[in-house]
């Protein structure tokens, strides 16, 4: 380990091949400090958990296929909705974004690795233990956590199952992992950029992750505080959230959503960065309004810190507070709109081709806009009295998160997979994957808008007869959506392990710009041991043209 590490800095005295290759077998993965290996680990964990949490969603949709009990009793149904949300947020989206950051940030800024490689190893390896502990609650006597991924007190404190303590510890581990990863990313971007890589030459993906990392540092400690207060209430006689002891259940929601709302931007901003890489490539045209995009990202993050009460409009918040948070929430749609308009302007008068990454990017653009517009509707407090906790909300946040996070992650994987594995994927299968995913996604979530407006509450295992038709459509869509991901699994596995797919060039995409395309495919185990020079950096930053 240490030898290798010194060797990378002292490569004149050592033979490249003998010291720079990865270790063999399981030791490579357990002890690795290489940003590419750790990126792969993050992405693999995320991929596995996506199928776990996706299966849970399909169980939920099966139960909701028709009124009356279908498959699950209400206890298990509540556990499924809880775990689906928790795992998708903390186990799928966040690790996948961290995996992309690990793989791409050093390669995009011309650094040889992350700034803190051992910390990087630890950040990842906390996660498998956190999720093993979380899942182990299914094997315990009594229920697994069943209070929704938002775990509102006192349902999650006084009235919660015993296994909640394991949930609390697991959230602590996830939070620790995220904080360490975020620190590492901030330090890397500040200190490890190639000398010629000034701030306004940074690729948008790096900018987005820098802002995201600051958001993580701002709010993950608050989540840790939140679950610690729960633990104190449960076992040490405090009454933070217990009105009978002088506490306030609404305090829980303030603390939770102070974390929870920025969390939404944590899930989405890196995806914005991915889209800002992909759309210019396949439009063969530089990103429109690079500077505006950078400022919009920063403003979204800052405003995102002061809108949390919009999740709590029906809790009896005073009118002044409701108005402040409504105006602040509406204001976020201005910088978000700027981003959508800039992506559209990038496409306008381009020279477009529609490879799979571009298809997913366009799918993102359309569906994220739909989700953003329903978000604008929800920001209006009076209407929110009707939308809150209905399926309209479920539809809204799935449009935003499935397209904003999942679609962008899938787009990123198709976009950079040839760079990672050295093999092109099957374009035909990729197109099938895109169309089935997009159709499945819309058939699943579009009818949920109607269900919510008609009055169906979220998180119910059984429903009134009038909701039957749309629920059946949703369930059919969910199965199309779910099974389409098996195509994705096949494509990724084949691209990693099979020799059948054609080899990729170092440029991979005709219109791609960026330092990552100046190195061979697959990317060597160590890259940019000497930083790229000014000419290379400038050539890779098309916004300077």
């Amino acid at each position: 380990m240490t030898d290798q590490h010194i060797a990378t800095q002292d490569n004149d005295h050592h033979d490249h091949d003998s010291h720079h290759g990865p270790a063999k077998g399981w030791r490579r993965w357990l002890f690795t400090t290489n940003h590419k290996d750790i990126g792969t680990l993050y992405l693999t964990l995320s991929f596995i958990l996506m199928f776990v949490a996706g299966t849970m969603a399909l169980l939920v949709r099966t139960e909701l296929f028709e009124p009356g009990k279908v498959l699950l009793n209400p206890e298990f149904f509540n556990q499924m909705t809880t775990f689906h949300g928790l795992i998708m947020v903390f186990g799928v989206i966040m690790p996948a974004m961290a995996g992309l950051a690990n793989w791409m940030i050093p390669m995009m800024i011309g650094a040889q690795d992350m700034a803190l490689p051992r910390l990087n190893n630890w950040s990842f390896w906390l996660l498998p233990f956190a999720f093993t502990m979380l899942m182990s609650t299914f094997l315990m006597s009594g229920n697994a956590p069943d209070f929704g991924w938002t775990f509102y007190a006192p349902l999650s404190t006084t009235y919660a199952p015993k296994s909640t303590d394991f949930f609390i510890f697991s959230v602590h581990l996830m939070g620790l992992s995220s904080i360490l990863a975020a620190l590492n990313i901030v330090v890397t971007i500040f200190n490890m950029r190639a000398p010629a890589m000034t701030w306004m030459k940074l690729p948008m993906f790096v900018w987005s992750w820098l802002v995201t990392a600051f958001l993580l540092l701002a709010v993950m400690p608050v989540l840790a505080g939140c679950v610690t207060m729960m633990l104190m209430d449960r076992h040490f006689g405090t009454s933070f959230f217990n009105a009978a002891g002088g506490g306030d259940p609404v305090l829980f929601q303030h603390v939770f959503w102070f974390f929870g709302h920025p969390e939404v931007y944590i899930l989405i901003l890196p995806g914005f960065g991915v889209i800002s890489s992909i759309i210019p490539t396949f439009s063969r045209k530089p990103l429109f309004g690079y500077h505006a995009m950078v400022y919009a990202t920063v403003i979204i993050a800052l405003l995102g810190l002061v809108v949390w009460v919009h999740h709590m409009f029906t809790t009896g918040a005073p009118m002044d507070a409701q108005l402040f948070f409504m105006y602040a929430t509406m204001l976020i749609s201005v910088p978000t709109g700027i981003k959508v308009f800039n992506w559209t302007a990038t496409i306008f008068k381009g020279s477009l081709s529609f490879e799979t990454p571009m298809l997913f990017a366009l799918g993102f653009l359309v569906m994220f806009t739909i989700g953003g517009l329903s978000g604008l509707m929800i920001s209006l407090v009076p209407s929110d009295y009707q939308y809150r906790d209905s399926y309209f909300i479920v539809a809204h946040f799935h449009y935003v998160l499935v397209s904003g996070s999942l679609f962008t992650i899938i787009a990123a994987v198709y976009y950079w997979l040839p760079k990672w594995t050295g093999r092109m994927y099957s374009e035909r299968l990729g197109q099938w994957h895109f169309w089935l995913t997009t159709i499945g996604m819309n058939v699943t979530f579009m009818p949920m808008h109607f269900l919510g407006l008609a009055g169906m509450p979220r998180r119910i295992p059984d429903y009134a007869l009038q909701f039957t038709d749309f629920n059946q459509i949703c369930t059919v869509g969910a199965f199309i959506f779910g099974f389409a991901q098996l195509i994705f699994l096949y494509i990724v596995v084949m691209s990693c392990f099979s020799k059948r797919f054609p080899a990729a060039t170092s440029q991979v995409w005709e219109g791609a710009h960026g330092l990552e395309w100046t190195i061979p495919s697959p990317a060597p185990y160590h890259t940019f041991e000497t930083p790229p020079d000014l000419a290379t950096v400038n050539a890779a930053a098309p916004q300077l043209e």
């Binding site: 509540n78 709109g337 302007a345 381009g350 509707m377 407006l453 998180r459």
Partner: protein, 260 residues
């Protein structure tokens, strides 16, 4: 591929159109629910216009600027005027939406001059209604049988939306609602009355309704409250003031009878 997609899309909307009961928010029967409905529709139309603009440009670009049809990229990447325009116009649209929203919200918060006060308490998993000035208090439980839920009996038309003792209120009367809970957080939600108010243990939230039409209005608990969250519906019966007076007298007499 595109043909398949269009087919699925068309059939999807055809199915959606056939299954029309409950595709939109109910207009409702209270001044607040109607104001909310109008605000909701105004915001929806604004979103449609914005969506049409963005998607129009996008679809045009996707058709007109394809590399396979020989499109050459034009290298522009900044335009200050354009960026100012698409920052300012959305901002003005937001102001136009914020004004009516603020007005409606001030109506929701105005609980003055009510003619009747009902205290609503959420329990796991039932509602309790107390008429503070009439000395009436009762629990309201789901009346759908377990056999219907387990598919052992035919489902009644109001499956999961029926209770043994509905909340009875007079029409054309401002009813002040004091909402609280005994254990965990619940939410009292009846879409057609435009009321959703969280019921929070230890705190009392206020809301109000003035029903303009006699009838039966149904809703459900709106906040996950544990095992039987789906099984604590709300039924409100709005009757004429004279019928309400009769109901109050009959109820009080019955309670007195039970006690003697």
């Amino acid at each position: 591929m595109r043909r398949i997609f269009l087919f699925v899309l068309t059939s999807f909307f055809a199915i959606a159109a056939l299954a029309t009961p409950g595709i939109n928010m109910p207009v409702g029967v209270t001044p607040v629910s109607q104001e909310i409905y109008r605000l909701h529709m105004a915001a929806f139309y604004v979103c449609c216009v914005i969506g049409a603009g963005v998607f129009g440009v996008l679809i045009y670009s996707l058709i007109a600027f394809r590399k396979s049809k020989g499109a050459k990229a034009v290298h522009f990447h900044e335009h200050l005027g354009l960026e100012i325009v698409w920052t300012t116009i959305p901002f003005l649209i937001l102001v136009a939406l914020a004004i009516p929203a603020t007005i409606v919200l001030s109506h929701i918060h105005n609980t003055d001059q009510s003619g009747l006060t009902v205290k609503i308490t959420g329990y796991q998993w039932r509602w309790k209604y107390e008429y503070l000035d009439q000395n009436i208090s009762f629990f309201s439980d789901l009346s759908t049988t377990q056999d219907q839920i387990n598919n052992k009996a035919a489902k009644s038309p109001w499956f999961l939306l029926e209770v043994d003792h509905p909340l009875v209120v007079p029409v054309h009367t401002k009813v002040r609602l004091l909402v609280t809970a005994d254990d965990v957080i619940h939410a009292w939600w009846v879409p057609e009355l435009g009321v959703k108010q969280d019921a929070i243990p230890g705190f009392v939230n206020e809301n109000w309704m003035m029903i303009e039409k006699t009838g039966t209005y149904r809703g459900q608990c709106g906040e996950l409250c544990g095992l039987n969250h789906a099984f604590m519906p709300i039924v409100v019966e709005a009757v004429s003031p004279s019928d309400f007076a009769k109901w109050v007298t009959a109820h009080q007499a019955r309670v007195k009878g039970d006690h003697s």
